[in-house]
Symmetry: C2
Subunit: 476 residues, 2 copies
């Protein structure tokens, strides 16, 4: 590779500062830094920097800034929108946070912990559990995703309903700004009203304003008991009505309230045949719900009361209440197996949209009609987190379609889906962010004023446009 002189000078300076473990330049060594969970793959990075401390991150960024070299900060490679992949032109330095993996401090009395940004989410959860606390962020990728990436993308996951997104779980941040200066705001205060809350800008800005190197996280009491139920319901409207009843009857001890169509149960049983049909009869829609408590409450009585009321109101047709941990795991197995069943069907359209909860029934119906009108042989798989209004409205292409045609076909269907979404005030990215993959659809809907403000913020923090630029907003 013919490396221009300013980049060569940077690499020499970095090699000296970071040492052998801290800078990777061989293509084989760099291979795992150019792909993410979605399988997206762009170009080759200029090199991969692996600083081990905040000071080394700061020095790396300072040198990039000095030499005018663009940066691509990287966490656990579990992104789905190509936001953390180096650019195709080979000009970006990947800065991996993986060596910043220390739990710095746990304060169970304050219900907080302070961690390096490169800590794996699962290890953070384990460390909290050792102190009888819970870090409630729960994601499919928790065994590999990093806290810094969770912060940069304002991650959500299964327990948003009860504990909120990452934004609600962060009390303080340490950030290396695009010029290499360190902004230390590692506050462990639960309540603080001193001026503009700058840390909010870094949450969800996908690394475009700076690199998070540390965070103070909010903990909850560790749950000591939980109950899982699978219910069969006649309609999406019944699901949404039951949600309102459940929040009330369960006094907001709901951890999860998942909407699952019959088709997904079938996909799950296809993928894992020994699961068997969970209820005596088939139902058009299912709810998989979990409640949890850290104290000695009677959760069985609470759920039985909810089921009775749900049946009285004609919302619930049938239900199974897990009476053991093994039974609960079997119910959750349906949700995992349905994802596996979906994967086995090959290329399909994945979305992570959101709508107001009250709009879920109309949206599912209208979006379904719009998609089926354009492509009568495709198949819709719409499931999601009711309490967040977050739906995975996914589409399997017609089974007989040629592989080469699928991508364009699905893209056209996505446009139809998004048009209905716009109509109900929904979001085309409730969870995964914008990155590069969703940039065009995002920009098409961004008002000139909002774009001006977002670009102004970016220019304020990163006037040279070197920090993860081209993600969310186009490069200037």
């Amino acid at each position: 590779m013919n490396v221009p002189s300013h980049r060569r000078a940077l690499l020499e300076a970095l090699a000296e500062r970071l040492g052998e473990r801290g800078l990777l330049r061989e293509p084989e060594a760099m291979a795992r830094y150019v792909a993410d969970w979605a399988g997206d793959r762009l170009g080759e990075p200029l090199a991969v920097a692996r600083p081990a401390t905040t000071a080394e991150v700061a020095e790396t960024v300072r040198l990039c800034h000095e030499h005018g070299v663009a940066m691509s900060p990287q966490g656990g490679h579990s992104g789905l929108v190509a936001g953390a992949l180096p650019a195709a032109d080979g000009g970006e330095l990947v800065i991996s946070l993986e060596r910043l993996d220390r739990v710095r401090d746990i304060d169970p009395v304050n219900f907080t912990m302070t961690v390096d940004a490169g800590c794996i989410l699962e290890s953070v959860k384990q460390a909290a559990a050792e102190h009888d606390c819970d870090f409630p962020l729960s994601l499919g990728a928790q065994g590999s995703c990093q806290i810094g990436g969770n912060i940069a993308t304002n991650a959500g996951g299964l327990n948003v309903l009860r504990h909120g997104m990452m934004r609600q779980l962060v009390l303080g941040l340490e950030v290396v700004l695009p010029d290499g200066r360190v902004w230390d705001d590692l506050s462990a205060l639960h309540k603080d009203n001193r001026g503009i809350d700058l840390k909010q800008l870094f949450l969800g800005s996908e690394g475009t304003l700076g690199i998070v190197t540390g965070a103070v996280l909010k903990l909850a009491p560790r749950p000591t008991q939980s109950r899982t139920a699978l219910l069969g319901l006649p309609s999406v409207t019944a699901v949404v009505d039951l949600y309102g009843l459940a929040r009330r009857d369960c006094s907001d001890l709901l951890n999860a309230f998942e909407l699952i169509p019959r088709r997904c149960m079938e996909l799950a049983m296809e993928a894992t045949p020994d699961l068997g049909d969970p209820l005596d009869d088939a139902h058009p829609w299912y709810v998989l719900m979990e409640v949890a408590a850290s104290g000695p409450l009677d959760l069985d009585a609470m759920l039985e009361h909810l089921l009775e009321r749900g049946m009285e109101h004609g919302l619930v047709e049938d239900g199974a209440l897990a009476t053991s941990e093994a039974q609960a795991q079997r119910l959750w197995q349906f949700r995992e197996s349905m994802l596996e069943g979906q994967r086995r069907r090959g290329e399909h359209l994945r979305t992570d949209i959101s709508v107001p909860i009250s709009a879920i029934p109309a949206f599912v119906e209208r979006a379904g009609e719009a998609v089926m009108a354009a492509s009568p042989d495709c198949e819709i798989i719409a499931y999601g987190h009711v309490g967040d209004g977050n739906l995975h409205f996914n589409i399997l292409p017609p089974p007989d379609m040629a592989e080469a045609d699928k991508r364009d076909h699905l893209h056209a269907l996505e446009e139809r889906l998004f048009a209905v979404l716009d109509d109900v005030g929904g979001s085309l990215s409730a969870e995964h962010g914008i990155g590069r993959t969703k940039q065009a659809a995002y920009l098409a809907r961004l008002s000139p004023l909002e774009r001006e403000l977002a670009e102004g913020i970016k220019a304020l923090f990163d006037p040279e446009g070197l920090m993860n630029s081209g993600r969310i907003l186009p490069p200037r």
Copy 2:
């Protein structure tokens, strides 16, 4: 008053656009717009604009921007840091939101409501209750404070422990920017990850970046039962330890967990003699706690279990559990009467600081020593919200001190208090904001980097420095 020509031109234009009800210029009519709850009073406003719609707010702001006249947006006059009072030089136009007082929409299925910024908090709570929902922000000033002011100051109050500050309760905003353009982000989505979350900047920036005119608020189920208990404890350490136990045993159904020293109980009994001593013996410290639920849980059993465990661990010496609404009100009466008792003692230092919960015991001890060393005859009244680490560490001056000396004396003690606070990583404003009153102490602690970023944000939104300038940051 000799009004310069650019201001006269503005007033003429405003009179034409807003009509007689919309523009006040007589001193008597303007009197109630120049004082706030703390009794702070600065100068006279240029005039008071009372726009009735978002479009009229936008037009008012646009005209001010065009004529280069400074603006002082105003809510319900319940501020405590002189942040919403017009400047002393008579050059600021007050823009009161009081006529924007419509509840625009309630969507109980989505657990949201959309309101004008001038809605009184109490009326918002009532409107939510009519739909079997709860808007959980609860403040002493809720009968007069407005939602827009709650948003601008990121208000907290009694239930922060369970429901968070205003930041956690806002899903969408409508804001008139300092040049009069309207930014419409009235989204009712519970989960949304499209780019930088600009609305976060307006929460807590005290009207310095724009005027909030509308908001989408998050609702909770309406509680159907609650229980109140008053407990006697031997030490602040026991209070903090009991808090950890209570969060676990009560499965986070805690609404309030208030720390009260014996001295405050005495002040309460002085102010309301027929209250009587609530427990058989006096205790050095008390906890007033409330749990609430929207479903049929056995809260009595839950609290009794907590009390037993607290006694087993030597944390709780004695306790009274209210068994009726009247008894619960009587227990809460202690908290109200102690504030009244404090007020009767005349001028005193009020603070609204916060520290990590784990630092509360050491802070109360060290801050007490520092203050008493400097002023052995003053009296410390330290109470607060344990779950937020938010303490009102207040100081009554020596009883024999001349009135004229009190202010300087208390200011000197505040400096000593803040020095201990700095040492434990605390905040000098957990609740009331910076405004003008706390600006000097705030700026003295602001790092040059943080100041640069905050000033950059201000300059981006308000390059002419016309919007509530001089609050939080000094005027440029």
